[in-house]
Subunit: 469 residues, 3 copies
Amino acid sequence: MAKLFLSVLSFLLLFGLSFAVRGGSWQQGECQIRSINAQEPSYTIQAEGGVTEFWDYKNEQFQCAGVSIRRHRIQPRGLLLPSLSQRPCSSLCRERFGRGMFGMMVSGCPETYESPQQSQQSREERSQRFRDRHQKVEQCEQGEIVAIPAGAAHWVYNDCDEELVLVVLHDNANNANQLDRNPRSFLLAGNPERGQEQQQYGQHGTRRGEEHQQLGNVFRGFDVRTLSEVFMVDQETARKLQGHNDERGHIITVQRGLQVIRPPQKGEEYGRRDEEPYSVAGANGLEETICSAKMRENLDKASRADVYNPRAGRFSTVNSLTLPILGFLRLSAARGVLYRNAIMSPHWYVNAHSIIYVTRGESRMQIVNHRGQAVFDGQVREGQVVVVPHNFAVVKQAGEQGFEWVAFNTNDNAMINTLSGRTSAIRGLPRDVVANAYQISREEAERLKFSRRETMIFSGSGRGRVASA
Amino acid sequence: MAKLFLSVLSFLLLFGLSFAVRGGSWQQGECQIRSINAQEPSYTIQAEGGVTEFWDYKNEQFQCAGVSIRRHRIQPRGLLLPSLSQRPCSSLCRERFGRGMFGMMVSGCPETYESPQQSQQSREERSQRFRDRHQKVEQCEQGEIVAIPAGAAHWVYNDCDEELVLVVLHDNANNANQLDRNPRSFLLAGNPERGQEQQQYGQHGTRRGEEHQQLGNVFRGFDVRTLSEVFMVDQETARKLQGHNDERGHIITVQRGLQVIRPPQKGEEYGRRDEEPYSVAGANGLEETICSAKMRENLDKASRADVYNPRAGRFSTVNSLTLPILGFLRLSAARGVLYRNAIMSPHWYVNAHSIIYVTRGESRMQIVNHRGQAVFDGQVREGQVVVVPHNFAVVKQAGEQGFEWVAFNTNDNAMINTLSGRTSAIRGLPRDVVANAYQISREEAERLKFSRRETMIFSGSGRGRVASA
Amino acid sequence: MAKLFLSVLSFLLLFGLSFAVRGGSWQQGECQIRSINAQEPSYTIQAEGGVTEFWDYKNEQFQCAGVSIRRHRIQPRGLLLPSLSQRPCSSLCRERFGRGMFGMMVSGCPETYESPQQSQQSREERSQRFRDRHQKVEQCEQGEIVAIPAGAAHWVYNDCDEELVLVVLHDNANNANQLDRNPRSFLLAGNPERGQEQQQYGQHGTRRGEEHQQLGNVFRGFDVRTLSEVFMVDQETARKLQGHNDERGHIITVQRGLQVIRPPQKGEEYGRRDEEPYSVAGANGLEETICSAKMRENLDKASRADVYNPRAGRFSTVNSLTLPILGFLRLSAARGVLYRNAIMSPHWYVNAHSIIYVTRGESRMQIVNHRGQAVFDGQVREGQVVVVPHNFAVVKQAGEQGFEWVAFNTNDNAMINTLSGRTSAIRGLPRDVVANAYQISREEAERLKFSRRETMIFSGSGRGRVASA
């Protein structure tokens, strides 16, 4: 499984939300981060069609950053049931072959994917045929970011033969969240968190146990007669909406495969059209609205790199300038690849926390706070999460296998400041300031400023890495 | 009184404030709303010219939403003394006949309402005449929204023969409020809260008692000699500014009626001009500034409805697109009318709390949280307030007499998502997702999606309503 | 020293930060300010080249306003080492003669100040010559405001013969700060707070003692081998970056004076060019980027006054309309000068806290809360700080020597409302409202509205002032 997982990661979705401004986070308690750890999931909820792993959102580093993280592992033909996120979230997923698929319901947007309705048919005939109308369905490709406004319901379906893994970041401190900071998902269907729960950390056990009583999707709270009337269906159907006896959990398996209306895939034959009808998008006059806003950006392609060093690796970012909807979400993301022994320049984010999810390989990371203390110095491995708080300095040194990660940043235009290299703060200082500040000669100051000519991704000898404990 | 009150409600003002962004509310404590109640005022402050009723702002649902609510009942010729609100607030008022009137002082805006100054007159003559100059005075009409920037002083006068009722919402969590979340009003005149206080709930009694010591308007805190110098008046007048012996409270009665400069009313004869001078607005070159920004919007007219179903009712909203100043205030409002037995589709707000004030009739309401638990299922009646938290789903079923309400939403562009009907989330889902999610047949899924063809306001049988406890 | 200090103050820098919105401040605890005091620094940190004095940020008034204040006193040839502020800050400084100088490193901005590189020279020769390239260096002049984006590293050098004093305001409640509200500075060099510390208030002693363990600049937290590799320098130089044995503190003395590349000063001879090379700014095509945004505004010149009364004084403001970068910083500033016995009209800020730093003279100040209680009534003197909370009313009456101050306001467009004078709230009220509200005659109401014809800065008799305790 671990092996499969390794290759499965690398496709990334960034769900977010509109009209949001990050609140002054963690205003109450202190956020005196003295120590940071690489985190792995602390508990798991099993469902019919997959499993969801949760990082402990009560952990100080997630609390300070105001985020929570979870990872969905969706089996082939697994369907993550429609839910709505209360706050911006980012997910990262990848499947090796084939297609993942997700749908998003934006209120008031029309159902633009529809099957043709032949008016000549008898009513009898029509009811036998595949006949539907729904909102846009998106295909996942490797390395994409997708932004979904908070409160928009969405579902995900694994349409391929390998496990689909999504890493989801919720931005609980986002001001679009008007409730407290606890992570919440509102489900439209299914019986959430009913499956077997494995909790690795004991401390929040009682709490969660209590929370799990009487859980259910949003229809569970309504009266059956009300539902029956509201949907104009019989009470039996209304009762099914509530899913009382549904033991499948929040990820279900679609036995015969999910049939939806969508455009043909690249490589699909024209001949398939008859079997799978698709809408002629572009004909409904709504192309320029939020209903058809661009939600995805592919960060995984090497050709898309924003910083590229053929001997060291690459670094790509997506922000509100490249994907405008991120301006509403107040989130951005970056994708980094370090080759063997390469180094990412010591840097800090000027206006954001950075939540790093390791997608491949291993690296030594050092994180330093404003007191010059190392709050983290250790190895991070695939599948781990590390939070680099706002303004804390960090350096990464890839191991023998290289290192790949995705960073979710809590600002739609996260600004990076490097300490070394061509665009660094040290370069901006006059030589005399450097010489006096560090009590070194002018020649040493010159070397300090100008020796490292690379910009952000440095080739390395591996010495620093080997030196780690 | 109750009967009068019934008809008196329905005019609505929405006061707000500029450059504000809602803070991530209730960041500290948890906001685990397990139960919501329809609230009535918990204490009352009596004054000469009327009474103000306060909802208990310490109540969890108001704390979670970050708002507080009060209701002014102003008697004929009652004058709510000038005060300034520290945060956005919305008020709702209506008078049956005649006119209410309010004034707002925006700093630096000129006094554009002035009486003509005949230069030929002797000084003696002039001082006998009505002679004044002040900022704009607005007339209230039924069903209007008025937005007033926070910190702008304002007063209200009841110029008709019936009680004038205003329901005021303060948005304490708004970021334009830079102090804590306790509701505060700064008074420019009068002796606030000096009247008889009736407190219905005992729990905050001690607290409030303490707060009431030494209350007074803002001039009370200044030295009399300072005031005398600052206004260049004698100390006796300066002392009157402080209102030490004023027992009239925050609403006073104007014995001979209030005389202000204002344009003639519709229906007023041209002949009245001589008696009541008015300014020729439009001649001062300031029309396009904030000083003359549009502050009001009428939501009450049926012809103004945004959603209209002749068999079920109507729904109207005002947001920053219809009243631009709301963009600064980060608040919006909606007005709903349900006819007998009609239903408002189950829905949630994507980005706002919704504070519902019932203006007429009765309804069953069900509110469901993210766990599928009903946090409220009961009847709400005229004069009650219910908070629907962000993302919680709600359904309303009007009683035999119909149901009317106003909702104040804590976002200037509150987005609504319905669960049923033509624009609902369920409609946006592919049929197969619905069928698999709820374990129903494709035919049932089709019925679920397409049976209810109305958009948001549904005609109803009354069955759901009767079913309520 | 006090005398020198007196004249030394009056130059002001306003550091700030981008994409920031003030959080709903002090959301948790109550902010029931019952009493305000004029504050002086509570502890001091001594360094080689100067001293930094801190106001106690745990004080309620600073906590409510969400700010902290410190004052740097930099000796001649003192260099405040490069640091980066995590949040918006404002500093106020002045030197009597000569020049102060500061540099700011904005990430990714080019080094636009460079010495000419004669290509004909041999490598040997070049290394002997002054040869450097760095980002822009700014000259301080009296009365300027400078805005620096948060997270941008900056340094300050005292290039004249008198002490240079900077008063720095940090806006900890600004939303660009994503950590908690404790003031933090990240140092790039030096050994902060190692000098002798004099603590005047005992209450936070233990706390601070603990904090001071293991302090250091940001390089201290990194591994020496990592630094060596990252900068491509030997380990000895890398170790010097960490400054382990550096006893000079955060302000050092540059023995032979600091040599940087900069344009000639006004009054410098053309002949000096050869000695001090300068860049031809304007030739690099980057003039319109953030890298060359205008960061400074001079508030000290009388000719710049926004409000001017030849008998009473003047008042100048800088906000996002006059210095656009303040729009990102969400801060503004004002400079006031009252002549002998003059009065600043009672006023309140509609949307900001106002933090007043007294630069010269003495004044009686009265601050009144929303209950009409005087929370402060006393004398304030040069070097003291007073916080006027959002919406609290304040009046200032200068003493015999006049009164000068700078106010930092926590909104980029702080709006002022006066209670008396030509643009006051009282003037905006209809005469009848005034007469009824204060139970005075119409004639008295007219006098109250129209007697004081000055706008904001009033000439005074000195009576009010003398009356103070």
